[in-house]
Symmetry: none
Subunit: 413 residues, 2 copies
């Protein structure tokens, strides 16, 4: 089964609910960028016998083991001692490690705290991995046919040492990994099963694998390929996938839906004004997450009260009485009003019942109206979104952004 | 060594760097709250043989195994099939699971996609665990002397099922764990070392442990105690901690800063209008995350362009020319303007440079002005917040909410 790399993270805090383990993902990301795959990962507490057991088991099963955590100066840092026990090596003061710790404190203009000397007590015969950002030296040893790298748990120190010491050692030992080329297509408006159904129906180039992920309400289609002419096959795969998924694909790679819309607006030189009721400013927040929104976003109105809808959007009392604030008529009036007041190319409005209260039999929780106006177009549509308040608000914000995306894409053609 | 509980999370995305595993920490947190300790955890990819190997190994080593992920409808969801292989059970359509999936779609008013039927293909002889929030039923089986619970990987579904089905099963099987009583105080405006320094200087009741967590920009102080009279000692500890931390504590338990402010506004019967520049609607979004905001939030203005500041907030051209849009003068004019226009008790305004562009030597990125006005008070202050665009925007939104909290708390006295 080829080369197997395993990650072991050590720390009580990972198993008592205090914090999620982010080191494994950081290691996996760096390794994946160099073409290496992490086979599996595990976490154990700061209990010496548990660490010993995990080290013995994993070194016998895997070829490369990357261990993080438990190298600090305090009494609950037990990794070095456990490594000495697991591999039957004496624990002794490592002169190179001690010198490195002294240098670290000297750089900071401080005297070394005696407690830090413990960080130089290491199993005999290890190679020291320098740590430019902290006191804990890392180390490397070979045992049970496995290369083991011990790194501190502090993320910044860990990733720097991984790049500086571990990746070069892997490249030397294993040769460069076979780069895995990946392209991610982001989909809105098709469920995961429907997305998969469409891709099942087409034939992708030889060796291209497809995986799916959900980042609610988005579906991610991951096309992956390695080996010869990977780029060409990936291009072909993307073209075919885009053909079958059509304009449900809103981005490739890491772009968000809001970033796509922001780029379209900027590119088209179009200005936008927003009138938000149930989303309470979330659409504006998403569009301003990235820099440069001042180019296209003239203003946004969060009009929770009817008085605000009257003042700022000129939604009439009659309209509110006849149709209610949650209606297609009101959404359209809001979009017209905000566009006229802000004097922008586009006016976008949303109004709805996010819940949990406020629903009626005719307009249950999840009822939402979206309206978009420009000089030449007016569009309004009602939805019934599922789920709780958070889900209704998120779906409303994303659907509104998707309206902008489709409108601007149509205008580009 | 007593009862051993292990967590196994399944998914390519956990081992290729796409996402960190947060389910393990969520499970550990819930279990810890009931007095159970997680012994260790591991993650494997969506590879059937790897899942089979992990299930066999872990069920032989541990007494309880909680598995998440791989129960979805797509081809890379392999957990049920792997469980059937690992425990030598045939895979068959489970009528109860199928009925549950049908009911889920019916509730949403949708027809079931044929592909979702796969989610009812389960190993023979399992107990179904209901899923109120999604399509994937969970299941439970006993094998190799281990109780195994299979839950979906979607965090909200997983935690709900853990609470509804797994915890009661554990309590029945193992007896109640020794409840760990915990109280969390949430702090804004003091760094973690400073918070810890204040608590180090006081003497807490016997047996009360303190832990710290950071949920940027907030610090969480966790007071924990078990055994006799735990409640009384926890009360005492909270009182002492509140004494030393003063009004930097904004909430106990799970309340957010925005929820605290929303409750204060509702309780005081005060109305609010917002004028946001650099936060782009984020403050309004936070205040409307929870239901009931219509009671106090009259309106919010996202005034990115100067024209919007003039129209809606009556910020004059002269003021903008003399002081610039990022100035104490402008913030105050915005707060006055929005309060006057909306006719509310309070007017809150923020303006600043979130970056990465737009900074000058006199007003670098991170320069932010906040202003709050009421009938009897006017306050404006400038900040220089550290970090990137996201951090500056988040700190601005939280500081503005904290101004409201402190203003309303003072009014309550």
């Amino acid at each position: 089964m080829g080369l197997t790399i395993s990650v072991l993270t050590i720390g009580d805090e990972l198993l008592n609910g205090e914090m999620a383990d982010t080191n494994t993902a950081a290691i996996a990301r760096l390794l994946a960028s160099r073409g290496y795959t992490v086979h599996d990962s595990s976490s154990v507490r700061d209990v010496e016998s548990d660490i010993v057991e995990a080290l013995r088991f994993l070194t016998r099963q895997r070829e490369i083991l990357i261990v993080t955590g438990g190298l600090g100066p305090t009494a609950d840092d037990l990794t070095s001692r456990a490594a000495a026990t697991a591999f039957n090596r004496p624990l002794e003061t490592n002169a190179e490690a001690l010198a490195q710790i002294h240098r670290h404190f000297a750089r900071l203009g401080l005297a070394m705290h005696p407690r830090n000397e413990k960080q130089a007590h290491l199993p005999r015969g290890v190679d020291i991995l320098p740590n430019a950002n902290g006191t804990a030296p890392g180390f490397h040893l070979d045992d049970n046919g496995c290369k083991v790298f011990f790194l501190p748990g502090v993320p910044a120190e860990m990733t720097a040492m991984l790049e500086q010491s571990v990746l070069p050692a892997l490249a030397k030992h294993l040769g460069q990994g076979e780069f895995l080329h990946e392209r991610v297509l982001k989909v809105f408006g098709l469920s995961e099963p429907k997305t998969e159904g469409r891709l099942d129906a087409i034939k992708l180039p030889e060796g291209v694998q497809v995986a799916f992920g959900v980042d609610f309400p988005f579906v991610h289609v991951k096309l992956r390929v390695s080996g010869a002419a990977a780029d060409t096959r990936l291009e072909q795969a993307e073209r075919l996938a885009r053909q079958t998924l059509g304009d449900f694909v809103f981005a490739t790679g890491t772009d968000s839906l809001a970033a796509t819309v922001a780029r379209q607006l900027t590119f088209a030189g179009q200005t936008l004004a927003l009138a938000e009721s149930c989303t309470g400013g979330w659409i504006a927040k998403l569009l301003t997450d990235l820099p440069g929104a001042s180019v296209f976003l003239e203003r946004g109105a969060v009009t929770y009260a009817n008085s605000a809808k009257r003042d700022w959007l000129q939604v009439t009392e009659t309209l509110l009485e006849q149709h209610g604030a949650v209606s297609g008529e009101c959404a359209l009036a809001m979009a017209r009003g905000i566009r006229r007041n802000a004097d922008t190319d586009l006016g976008l409005a949303v109004t709805g019942i996010a819940g949990p209260d406020g629903g009626t039999p005719a307009k249950p929780v999840g009822t939402v109206f979206i309206a978009l106006t420009s000089e030449t177009t007016e569009r309004v549509h009602g939805y019934r979104f599922p789920g709780n308040r958070d889900s209704v608000r998120l779906l409303t914000a994303c659907m509104a952004l998707d309206w902008l995306r489709r409108h601007l894409a149509a205008a580009e053609r």
